[in-house]
Symmetry: C2
Subunit: 114 residues, 2 copies
DNA sequence: TACCGCTATATCCTGCCATGCATAACGAAT
DNA sequence: ATTCGTTATGCATGGCAGGATATAGCGGTA
């Protein structure tokens, strides 16, 4: 596909991103791996970055989206909370609406583009 | 406003942004000032950046969105073409739809946010 | 008790991108 | 001919976001 609409929806709170595409993806990876560091490896970002994203998320919302505990391979780790799943679901729904909008816009411009 | 949804819609073509919020704003400024450099000053970006944006726009679409000619205060300058106004209008329309979507999403999360 | 892999955090490093500066040519007016 | 404010383009510098690295403490397992 040579040309397409790229949409990104970010939930801003003051100056930091409360939720966005990267955080949604990270949430998925945390859910499937059970740890922040493994999720970071899976997604291909540094642990530092992943931890910062989680921290920002948790600070921006009333309830944390990720619950984490120190400790080794068995015992510690991180999990997505109920609030996390709820918010992610809402985000996914709006993402879908966004894609529909994008398709409309794209077809309305298809004869103008190179 | 402490928390709000920030949406940006970019029309991508390969790896560069054919159209987006910055380019829409720049187009307005070019229309009102009649030159790229004056528009850059008005918007608060460097001339180089403004010129690059215009160049990208013009390369991505069939017809140029901005027509420019060298030469001094009287004679040279830049103007928004008919195609430019057409595309910008389409973009504005979709931006409005985007804002409506954002409002819905925001209210659906208002009790979760800090 | 030793080990492993995780959370959490501070500090340092580096690569990239935008900005700013420099330059050349142009076109109209005076 | 001179001046002014453009377009158009290249180059170098600097700032900063993010990655890499180091360290400390934790919680299970074997």
């Amino acid at each position: 596909m040579a040309n397409y609409i790229k949409l990104r929806a970010r939930l801003m709170r003051d100056d930091d991103i409360a939720f966005g595409p990267g955080k949604a993806q990270l949430l998925d990876a945390i859910e499937s791996t059970g740890s922040i560091s493994a999720a970071a490896r899976e997604v291909g970002m540094s642990y530092r970055r992943a931890w910062l994203l989680v921290d920002t998320m948790n600070r921006c919302f009333r309830e944390p989206l990720v619950h984490s505990a120190p400790g080794g391979k068995h015992g510690g780790g991180a999990e997505v909370t109920e609030a996390g799943r709820r918010i992610r679901q809402r985000y996914r729904q709006m993402e879908q609406a966004l894609r529909d909008l994008a398709d409309d816009f794209e077809t309305s411009l298809e004869n103008e583009l190179n």
